[in-house]
């Protein structure tokens, strides 16, 4: 006799609210229904009632983890309509902040994944490592989570002590290589919980339109960074795995952390001199026009559509976060799986309900 278990909106394994109702036969999942919207804040509507300077503060609050990429993408959209050239130094600083944010996000995810499989000591090791990243972000911006780094035309803060950041990167790389990577890739208990669990084939990934490390773990070579001139100059390499299971998602994020640390080091070594913002600012009025801009947030492609009307506030702001397209894929991943693996399956796509609900 099939039975349905409503899980959420408050979860034992997640701090954010969303509801998943699973119908099982025995221990096997036969059907999945997902409900979102428990923390809907109408940020798009609010953004249309504020000016562009206020909107940079507002969109940074879409998410507490990938906050920097939201302000950067919003600023990039306004810069496109203003036809501004962002100075090289500002572009490099944006890359460094974005990669620190990715490290912070992936480490947070890895810690939670360790906790989900009952590996408490690993959780503590990873969260101690994450603190080093948070310290680096605080040293640059003054803030641990909402960095307020981006303005329209450039960045608000310079990186004045690259040596301190390089030292932090060395420590983080060493810990990743010596502690995190071996445990996640070779530990037999960890592998037993992850290999072959929560499969999403490449064909399903394309059909469902999933993005980010989640898509790249199903063999899709898709990363917005590969189209970005600064990343191209730094020799960015997209990380792709073909397993399509939880283990492949772990591998992608693990290798991406090493790539982020390498990109930060490269960017610091090659940091160009020059101004932090385009001349003529502050830019408070955006001309008429519309533009769609994409960035690679830690969880995948982030899309902003901006319609300017020649005033100091936008006519329309549309925000499509990576979790919004990734969360529906819980359904194909969970079907036919064991109920006990569901927390790990849903955690493996690194869902963010704050982003999804906006």
């Amino acid at each position: 006799m099939p039975y349905t278990i409503p899980i959420g909106p408050y979860h034992p394994s997640m701090e954010e609210p969303y509801k998943i109702s699973v119908t099982c036969q025995g221990e096997t999942i036969h059907d999945v229904a997902i409900d979102i919207g428990f923390s809907f804040r109408a940020i798009e509507l609010l953004a249309q009632r504020r000016n562009y300077v206020q909107d940079l503060v507002l969109v940074e609050r879409v998410c507490g983890i990938c906050s920097g990429v939201h302000t950067m993408t919003f600023a990039m959209a306004a810069e496109a309509l203003l036809e501004l050239d962002v100075p090289a130094r500002a572009q490099y600083i944006r890359v460094i902040i974005s990669e620190l944010e990715r490290l912070h996000s992936h480490l947070l995810w890895a810690g939670i994944a360790a906790e989900d499989i009952g590996f408490q000591t690993m959780f503590m090791e990873i969260f101690a490592l994450r603190e080093r990243v948070m310290d680096a972000l605080e040293a640059i911006s003054g803030n641990r989570v909402h960095y307020a780094m981006n303005c329209i035309g450039g960045v608000n803060n310079d990186i004045t002590d690259p040596d301190a950041l390089l030292a932090a990167m060395r420590d983080i790389k060493q810990a990743l290589e010596q502690v995190v990577m071996p445990v996640f890739t070779r530990n037999p208990t960890v592998r037993a919980r992850m290999v072959g669990v929560g499969m999403l084939t490449k064909e399903q990934a394309i059909a469902d339109g999933v993005v980010g490390p989640f898509a790249r773990a199903s063999g899709l070579d898709a990363d917005i960074r590969s189209e970005h001139p600064v990343y191209q100059a730094l020799g960015f390499k997209t990380v792709v795995e073909h397993g399509g299971d939880v283990f492949a998602r772990v591998l992608v994020r693990a290798f991406e952390m090493l790539e982020s640390a390498r990109l930060i080091e490269q960017a610091l070594h090659n940091l160009p001199a020059g101004p932090l913002c385009a001349p003529g600012g502050p830019f408070t009025v955006v001309p008429e026009g519309e533009v769609t801009v994409r960035s690679e947030a830690p969880r995948g492609e982030l899309l902003y559509y901006l319609q300017g009307n020649g005033t100091d506030h936008p006519a329309r702001v549309k925000i499509r976060t990576p979790s919004y397209v990734n969360i529906p894929a819980v359904e194909p991943m969970a079907l036919g799986q064991q109920l006990g693996d569901l927390p790990l399956i849903q955690a493996s796509l690194d869902p963010c309900c704050s982003c999804t609900d906006r």
Binding site: G37, G209, E290, Q307, R320, V325
Partner: protein
């Protein structure tokens, strides 16, 4: 050189010429056959990024389909007629939540959506609360 997707897109029923602005492609085709658009893009392996809704006059909604084409973004602008537009979800599953959200925020109806239930709208608010004069 014109890419295959450009040729096929401009040949669809109701299509308009493509323009290239701000390093991306745009098509303003209010009466485009959106199901033909979805099927063509699916056949070409082009991913749907999302769909944007914008309130326009007389209760209609402008609907913009954003596709990740090689080398950038394609934006196809269509408009509802009598508040309705065909759903592309039966063809492209990735449109399911985006269409439900536009229904919640702007009150547009996507005909043929397999599950047109409330997605993100607070239960106490009516559909279309993003439209001018509907909020507050």
């Amino acid at each position: 050189m014109t890419a295959e997707w450009e040729t096929r897109l401009e040949a669809l029923p109701g299509a308009a010429p493509l323009t290239y602005v701000h390093n991306q492609w745009w098509m303003d085709a209010p009466v485009l056959d959106v199901r033909a658009l979805a099927q063509t893009m699916l056949d070409l392996g082009v991913r749907l990024c999302t769909i944007t809704g914008i309130a326009v006059a007389e209760g209609e909604t402008q609907v913009i389909y954003h596709y990740a084409v090689p080398g950038g973004v394609l934006n196809v602008k269509v408009q509802t007629r009598s508040g309705k537009l065909n759903s592309i979800t039966p063809i492209t599953g990735a449109a399911a939540w985006a269409e439900r959200e536009i229904q919640d925020l702007f009150g547009a109806t996507f005909t043929g959506h397999p599950n047109p239930s409330r997605l993100i709208r607070p239960a106490q608010l009516a559909e279309g609360f993003f439209r001018e004069g509907s909020a507050d």
